[in-house]
């Protein structure tokens, strides 16, 4: 059930119930008061008549014919005066029987000609004065009073229900705007939700939603860029291979060597990019890597520089320790090797590798004397597939290093040296 309908139902029902209870209570009170007032009217009339008749001498009465004073019998208070023997001396309604007096002194209900009457009888100087009115008249009066009171009451009740409905609808308008905004939006879209003026209670919801959307949008953007970049990096060598092979086939076997060679070069690049991508995927996956056995720092650096062991441009400073690494040493070596490869590629000078242990962490510093990297380059250096123009790398090396560092709980910092080269510092947690 919608929030609006539920509120309307709960509030509307409570409203109606309270108003009905109030109405019931009022009706009961009113009825009691009305009866009392009408009774008082009977008693007052009787007293007045009593007061009047005491002014006359007592022998006036027998001379009178009872019907003389009879008035119209349709409505109003009836009055009958009897002597102590029960003979009617005076009466307002001629059909009134003498039995009115049988009811006795005080208030009584009595049937006269099948109609219920309310009778009040009092004694005054040996005369009995009865005043009476029809209960039907009382009911009619009561009904018209109720009707007069109930009409504004019902209008007020309906009015308050209508106000309630309008108020709830108006109050919940931001919610319904949010509902419309959400149901009309493209699920893949990352644009912020805007519903115009937002009430205080909804503001945090919208804010959180928009923050989340922005975040998702950024992730999606990164994903998209990565896919697009990966496609570019894979398709470019593929294009080179395909084109060179097509040319080689067309040009005939005697001249095709150079094109086949080019195709192979492109193939090697494709293979390297694929391997790097797979490596990145493996490091980033949730695959469990075994913890390593104690390994010497010398061993670590040996695998890292295996491809360049004969290079005169490498200077190493490695302490004699054995340590326990958070990841297999081969993986750590890949990170080191990528940093060393980068350094060697971007410098014609010396690359200094120092691997030392400080407190409970492993510090690997790789410093080159390479060309200057611009501020812009420094910003993009760890972006996937970014590489310096005309560089032969895949642009994934540093991304792999970062992924490995992330897995091992360490950190990587890249800083420009004052001399212009780049210093890569890899800090990994270890247990000796």
């Amino acid at each position: 059930m919608s929030l609006q309908r539920r509120m309307l139902l709960i509030l509307g029902m409570s409203f109606s119930l309270l108003w009905l209870l109030a109405a019931f209570w009022m009706q009961r009170d009113l009825e009691q008061h009305l009866q009392d007032t009408l009774d008082q009217r009977l008693a007052a009339s009787a007293r007045m008549v009593g007061g009047l008749i005491t002014q006359f001498p007592s022998d006036t009465w027998p001379a009178l014919d009872a019907t003389t004073l009879s008035a119209s019998s349709t409505s109003g208070v009836a009055c009958q005066i009897r002597d102590s023997q029960g003979s009617i001396l005076l009466q307002t309604h001629k059909e009134l029987p003498a039995e009115m007096g049988h009811a006795g002194i005080g208030f009584h209900n009595h049937l006269i000609d099948g109609q219920p009457w309310r009778i009040y009888t009092r004694e005054e100087n040996g005369l009995f004065i009865s005043t009476a009115d029809r209960l039907i008249e009382r009911e009619t009066l009561q009904r018209s009073i109720f009707l007069a009171a109930a009409l504004p009451f019902i209008i007020a009740l309906l009015g308050s229900l209508l106000t309630l409905w309008l108020g709830i609808q108006r109050g919940l308008r931001p919610l319904s705007r949010l509902k419309t905004a959400l149901s009309h939006r493209n699920p893949a879209s990352a644009t912020p939700v805007d519903i115009g003026p937002t009430p205080e209670e909804l503001a945090p919801v919208i804010r959180t939603l928009n923050t989340l959307l922005k975040h998702t949008g950024e992730i999606l953007g990164r994903e998209k860029r990565f896919t697009s970049d990966a496609a570019h990096e894979l398709r470019t060598p593929l294009t080179a291979i395909k084109t060179h092979l097509q040319v080689a086939r067309r040009i005939g076997p005697e001249k095709s060597d150079i094109y086949l060679c080019q195709a192979e070069t492109a193939l090697a690049r494709l293979q390297k990019t694929l391997e790097q991508l797979l490596m990145l995927a493996r490091v980033e996956s949730s695959e469990d890597w075994p913890k390593s056995a104690p390994v010497s720092l010398r061993y670590l650096s040996d695998i890292a520089i295996a491809d360049h062991s004969s290079s005169a441009r490498l200077r190493t400073d490695i302490s004699q320790h054995s340590i326990l690494l958070p990841l297999p040493p081969e993986l750590i070596s890949i990170a080191l090797r990528n940093l060393i490869d980068n350094a060697l590629q971007h410098t014609d000078g010396t690359v200094t590798i120092s691997i030392t242990i400080e407190a409970d962490s492993l510090h690997c510093n790789i410093t080159d004397e390479g060309d200057h990297l611009s501020d812009e380059d420094m910003k993009r250096i760890t972006l996937r597939f970014w590489r310096k123009p005309n560089s032969s790398g895949s642009g994934l090396g540093l991304a792999i290093v970062e992924a490995i560092v992330h897995r091992s709980g360490g950190r990587l910092s890249l800083n420009r040296e004052s001399s212009g080269g780049l210093r890569a510092e890899l800090i990994l947690p270890i247990s000796t």
Binding site: E233, T236, A240, H244, R250
Partner: protein
């Protein structure tokens, strides 16, 4: 016909140059936007193959700049980014065609030829001019329904004239189309080719417009009957 190739990847570029040369295109390759920009103003290219991911500038902005300057040379975008929005953006920026990498060499050549035909206002693949019939796809040439074997440069010269549909071409335009940036051309090489082509077909095939250049001459079917 001269192709300006703008591609940053040296391996892809060398393959394209070789592949297009097999189809007798004159190709000049530039690997960045800056060089391509100057080449566009220096050369009269018949078509451009443009890679979008250039190291110094986005190929798309280069294309927009050319179009804004009123350069109408057909441009074929060649890129590894093949998302539909990329393609649409490329075509909106003024490209005439879009081919995702990796592509087939034959398809690339067919598309280039189609672009050039369209630029020349020629819908059919066979151009007929008086007694001359030229197939733009196979480059077979018939003179009075007899096949003629033309040497490479003369064929290129004839092709250029036919595609220009009677417009006057300067010597520079024709040279660019035949040689591109190649510098070791003898000064009278073009005259030699013109002379040879006239000799092989008929003298009126090329009309010299004094002080301006050359154009395809009007041919009367009957006059040259053999």
């Amino acid at each position: 016909m001269h192709i300006l190739l703008v591609e940053d990847d040296p391996l892809v570029a060398s393959g394209l140059c070789a592949g297009l040369a097999l189809h007798d295109f004159t190709v000049d390759h530039f690997s960045n936007a800056k060089a391509a920009r100057s080449a566009m103003f220096a050369l009269h290219s018949d078509a451009v193959i443009l890679d979008l991911g250039l190291p110094d500038e986005d190929g798309m902005s280069l294309l927009r700049e050319w179009r804004a300057r009123g350069i109408h040379t057909p441009v074929l975008i060649l890129t590894a980014r093949d998302a539909i929005p990329d393609r649409v953006a490329g075509l909106h920026a003024g490209a005439d065609d879009y081919l995702p990498k990796p592509f087939d060499l034959d398809e690339l050549v067919a598309r280039l030829k189609a672009l050039m035909r369209r630029a020349a206002g020629q819908a059919q693949s066979v151009i007929e001019h008086g007694p001359l019939r030229f197939d733009t796809v196979t480059r077979e040439t018939y003179w009075f329904d007899k096949p003629v074997n033309l040497p490479r440069r003369e064929l290129a010269l004839l092709e250029k004239l036919l595609f220009s549909r009677g417009a006057i071409l300067s010597a520079g335009q024709i040279k660019d189309s035949l040689y591109g940036f190649q510098t070791d051309i003898e000064s009278n090489a073009l005259n030699v080719h013109i002379h040879n082509l006239r000799r092989r077909l008929c003298p009126e095939i090329i009309q010299t417009v004094r002080g301006v250049g050359y154009r395809l001459g009007k041919l009367n079917h009957a006059e040259h009957g053999q």
